[in-house]
């Protein structure tokens, strides 16, 4: 208690120092005066009386100092003093301070931004109850690739046979639907969910109720919708009376029963779901009729919750049994199936592990940049410490202990780090808020970069590390003041050792920036290579419009009419060369896997029928995209709704399933529709259809006229201005179907550039990021080099003056000063080359069409780096060369 009271009183005293000082002064003065009066009364002269009083008291100033020290917390006082002193120092050297804070801010900002991106993508759990227990599922059939989609009967089997290992599994499928209130439809992302969706996740509604466990089991039953929070806010103005209202989903009336809570965006990370409906309602969306009972329609995703105390391995063991049972019981659909369970955090993005590796590579690069920034600052601080040797020696001579001096220097670097970290956080917050407005192809992406504890902890760790790195070296060096040497030289010359340390640090900077520049150029050249790739289609002058007449309630007949009329009208527009439809189209991030049985092809034993990608396209699609049919014919008007079903396959399809045979005339059976075989009428040249970097894959294309699906992307090949073309097509669409939402309006090139997993977005972000890193590193290295050379020149002003007086030519001086810089570059460049040869293979997975030890890239970066580093050395050397010897000598 007493201790606490003392502490409080001392802390309070810290803040009331001026008032308490006055108080103390008054008290001491009144003491001396009263004592003087008493002495006068004893018969002394006034002067003698005052002298006696002061002697009795014994040192007024000392007493006041002891008093002050006892009054407040001593080390806090000293710290405040250090801080004040440091701030005064910063004000006197604004250039140094600005460079220091900016480079730290860049280093910490880059790290924080990158980490918050990774945090959002793979670390932040779903905002639901106990997210660590959630698992995702994927299934892989022998000879096929893993897929996250299941059929509803498979879901039922897995759910019922894993009780005990899992406390529950929910299922959902996603939809892109038209939601209309008062006639005008919006394109919305929906989840069709099993009744346990909300309860298993522990999500409570903010308004009304959620979908109940008893609902969603009947096809077309329970016409109700739970709105997403942001959609409710944006489109219903947060109206609480929305409960019970009727809205139309794809033209079908549904009742609003509730609103999901604000922080919940659906069971999938990164996507902002706008409405939740019972699973059975999926038949009004893209759901195939009968999907609740059909094992070959795989359109739902699963999310499970592990039972308490069950390990992932135990759950996986249980699923192995389930897989075997499925494989044995349903050989047609499920032979050779393996169901794999994965933690939701890692499974949320299909290539979670790759993403982690990518993240690790880039975090390492960002950390390297921070280290370079710290090296620079450490160098700057060392220069400052050297320049302050006289001051430090003076303080040491006046009794400042070494510990106290180190503390002063550490306070300085700590303050710099604080400012730098703060500026870095602000810069990062700004960058993140700019990035979070990214939209992908009209899909409401939910990018929540907001800084949570993890991000702040990461930034703090980076800052602490930076502070330690840049504080310790100069503090230890600077405080080891050699009093005699300083007195002798007047603090002008420093010993050789710090110089050597600084040179080594700059060599490391040059080498590291070499590596980062190599990575940046490799990625940039990969992007160039990617853009030059022969995609197998002509992506220039193509515009996309994604539409779904279902959204406004059209049935199939109306939809067919709408599309044929739309194509006819758009084709007659003056600037349109060609117009066509496709469900997915090239690089659309919308893969359509289809299990097929090609005529005469037998799967290897124990494997299911092969799965290939397919697309439904209208007659002129290949012409619009300039994809050549190399054999047989293209689709033509004779392939109408009632004609025999036909298909066109890719070259790889033909080679894989009918090697050495003429594919034209062969038939293909679909597993989901075995009664209508399809006849191949043509072969299309291979194209990179799904992803820009994919290997050759089998594809199958079928005509829209025979495979009606409401959701289509209209693609037009146009001449002239993009804006005019867009406006004209939109006018036609709205005049044909008023109120029909149109999404994803962009050119095909834009679409390819902005597609993450399939197009160039990944490579663009990677190369852009690496370029920023490389240039930052280069700038930091140049700064360091420039600093070392110009400082060593400044240190040798006296020597240069003497040499000039004794007849040295300016060229000799230049050589003298340049020497150190040349040495640094001469060691740094080969070291960087070596480092790049060793370390560049870490990006081998990221580069495209280029070797990580590409000699041209290495040579190019080496030449560039040599040129700029030499320039950075030359400028201070030239300044030294022009020195006036008299000025240089007088400088002493």
């Amino acid at each position: 208690m007493t201790f606490l009271r003392v502490l409080i009183s001392r802390v309070r005293a810290l803040f009331a120092a001026p008032r308490l000082d006055r108080d103390l002064e008054d008290e001491l003065r009144s003491h001396i005066e009263m004592e003087t009066e008493a002495n006068v009364r004893r018969g002394m002269t006034p002067a003698e009386a005052r002298r006696r009083a002061l002697i009795e008291f014994g040192g007024v100033a000392q007493t006041a100092e002891i008093y002050r020290e006892a009054r407040a917390v001593a080390w806090v006082g000293a710290l405040l003093q250090d801080i004040r002193y440091a701030l005064r120092g910063f004000r006197r050297a604004p250039g140094f301070t600005a460079v220091a804070i900016i480079s730290l801010a860049l280093g910490i900002g880059v790290n924080t931004t990158l980490f918050s991106l990774i945090n959002m993508l793979i670390l932040r759990p779903l905002p639901v109850e106990d997210p660590g227990q959630l698992v995702t599922f994927s299934s892989q059939q022998k000879g096929s690739f893993p897929m996250p989609a299941f059929s509803y009967p498979e879901y039922r089997d897995i759910r019922d046979q894993t009780t005990g290992a899992l406390s529950g599994i929910l299922a959902y499928c996603d939809g892109l639907d038209g939601l209309s209130v008062d006639g005008r439809a919006d394109r919305v992302i929906t989840h069709y969910v099993t009744g346990n969706y909300f309860t298993l996740l522990g999500v409570k509604p903010v308004l009304g109720r959620v979908i109940l466990p008893s609902e969603g089991k009947v096809e077309g039953g329970d016409p109700m919708i739970v709105l997403g929070y942001s959609y409710w806010k944006a489109h219903f103005a947060g109206d609480p009376n929305v409960i019970g209202r009727h809205v139309f989903l794809n033209g079908h009336p549904v009742t609003v029963v509730g609103v999901a809570p604000k922080q919940f965006h659906g069971a999938q990370a990164l996507i902002d779901v706008q409405g939740y409906l019972p699973l059975g309602m999926n038949s009004i969306s893209a759901g195939f009729p009968g999907f609740l009972e059909n094992r070959s329609i795989r359109n739902i995703y699963l999310l499970g919750r592990m039972a308490p105390g069950v390990s992932l391995n135990q759950a996986q063991a249980r699923l192995k049994i389930v897989s075997e049972r499925l494989s044995a019981a349903y050989p047609k659909d499920s032979s050779g199936v393996t169901v794999v369970v994965q933690k939701q955090l890692l499974g949320r993005i299909q290539s979670g592990n790759e993403l982690m590796e990518l993240g690790a590579v880039f975090l390492a690069m960002a950390a390297l940049v921070l280290v370079l920034a710290c090296i620079n600052l450490a160098n700057l601080l060392m220069v400052r410490a050297a320049a302050r040797q006289k001051e430090i020696a003076m303080r040491a001579a006046l009794g400042g202990s070494r510990g106290r001096l180190i503390r002063q220097l550490l306070t300085e670097s700590f303050l710099l780090t604080c400012f730098g970290a703060l500026a870095g956080l602000l810069a990062s917050a700004w960058t993140c808020s700019a990035l979070s407005t990214l939209r992908l192809q009209g899909i409401p992406i939910y990018l929540d970069f907001s800084f949570d504890g993890r991000v702040l902890a990461y930034a703090l760790a980076a800052a602490v590390l930076a502070g330690l790195m840049l504080g310790i070296v100069p503090a230890l060096r600077g405080s080891r003041a050699d009093l005699a040497a300083v007195a002798r030289d007047g603090g002008q010359r420093s010993s050789g050792r710090p110089q050597r340390t600084r040179s080594v640090l700059v060599i490391a900077q040059v080498a590291a920036s070499f590596l980062l520049l190599i990575i940046a150029s490799l990625l940039n050249r990969s992007l160039q290579n990617g853009r030059r790739l022969d995609m197998g289609f002509d992506a220039r002058h193509i515009l996309n419009f994604s539409i779904d007449p279902h959204n406004v309630g059209y049935n199939e007949t109306q939809g067919r009419q709408f599309y044929s009329e739309l194509l006819r009208r758009v084709r007659t527009l003056p600037e349109m060369e060609s117009a066509s439809l496709a469900i997915s189209g090239p690089i659309s991030a919308l893969p359509l896997p289809m299990q097929v049985q090609p005529e005469g092809y037998a799967s290897p034993k124990g494997q299911a029928a092969p799965t290939v990608f397919w697309d439904v396209v209208s007659r002129d699609f290949f012409e619009t995209l300039r994809m050549p049919v190399v054999r047989g014919r293209s689709f033509n008007p004779s392939d109408h709704e009632h004609a025999p079903r036909v298909a066109i396959v890719s070259e790889t399809f033909a080679e894989r399933f009918w090697p050495g045979h003429d594919p034209v005339g062969k038939t293909i059976q679909l597993t989901i529709d075995p009664v209508h075989p399809i006849q191949v009428v043509g072969v299309l040249r291979d194209a990179r259809y799904l992803a820009v970097t994919e290997p050759k894959q089998p594809y199958i294309y079928v005509p829209f006229e025979q495979n009606y699906a409401p959701i289509q992307t209209l693609r037009v090949r146009y001449n002239g201005a993009t804006e005019t073309a867009i406006a004209e097509v939109l006018k036609e669409i709205s005049s044909l179907a008023p109120g029909l939402p149109v999404a994803g309006v962009e050119t095909l090139l834009q679409q390819i550039d902005s597609s993450a997993g399939y197009g160039f977005l990944g490579l663009r972000i990677e190369s852009g990021f690496a370029t920023v890193m490389g240039l930052l590193a280069l700038a930091l290295a140049l700064l360091g080099l420039y600093g070392v050379v110009s400082y060593s020149a400044a240190q040798r002003t006296h020597e240069i003056g003497v040499r000039l007086t004794l007849g040295a030519s300016p060229r000799d001086i230049r050589k003298l000063v340049l020497g150190r810089g040349l040495l640094i570059v001469g060691i740094g460049l080969p070291a960087g080359l070596l480092l790049s040869l060793v370390a560049a293979p870490i990006v081998r997975e990221l580069v495209l069409g280029i070797s990580t030890t590409d000699p041209l890239t290495l040579a190019g970066v080496a030449v560039l780096l040599a040129c700029v580093t030499l320039a950075a050395c030359y400028i201070p050397a030239r300044r030294a060369m022009r020195a006036d010897p008299t000025v240089a000598l007088r400088n002493e």
């Binding site: 007493t2 009271r5 003392v6 009183s9 001392r10 103390l24 008054d26 008290e27 001491l28 009144s30 003491h31 005066e33 009263m34 004592e35 009066e37 008493a38 009795e56 008291f57 014994g58 040192g59 007024v60 000392q62 007493t63 002891i66 008093y67 006892a70 009054r71």
Partner: protein, 83 residues
């Protein structure tokens, strides 16, 4: 000032404190909450700081006095015993 004089008086000039050391001591006792201080006017019409014992201070004084007496008693007995 009065405190220093009083100590000198009571001790019969045996305890001659350096008066300056009194102030840090007073501060420490005040921080512990055993005394309180206020500015008042003396009989000579001069502003001076008056210190007085707080209730907690009185209790502490009693405790310390007891402790001292015990200590002094023990010491006295020890010294007597060695005689």
């Amino acid at each position: 000032m009065g405190i220093a004089q009083r100590i000198r008086q009571i001790s019969g000039d045996l305890l001659q404190l350096n008066q300056g050391t009194l102030y840090p001591a007073l501060l420490r006792v005040e921080q512990k909450g055993w005394i309180s201080s206020e500015w008042r006017i003396t009989e000579n019409n001069r502003r001076a700081k008056y210190y007085s014992l707080t209730p907690a201070g009185k209790k502490q004084l009693e405790a310390e006095t007891l402790e001292w007496e015990r200590f002094a008693g023990v010491m006295a007995r020890m010294l007597n015993a060695t005689e």
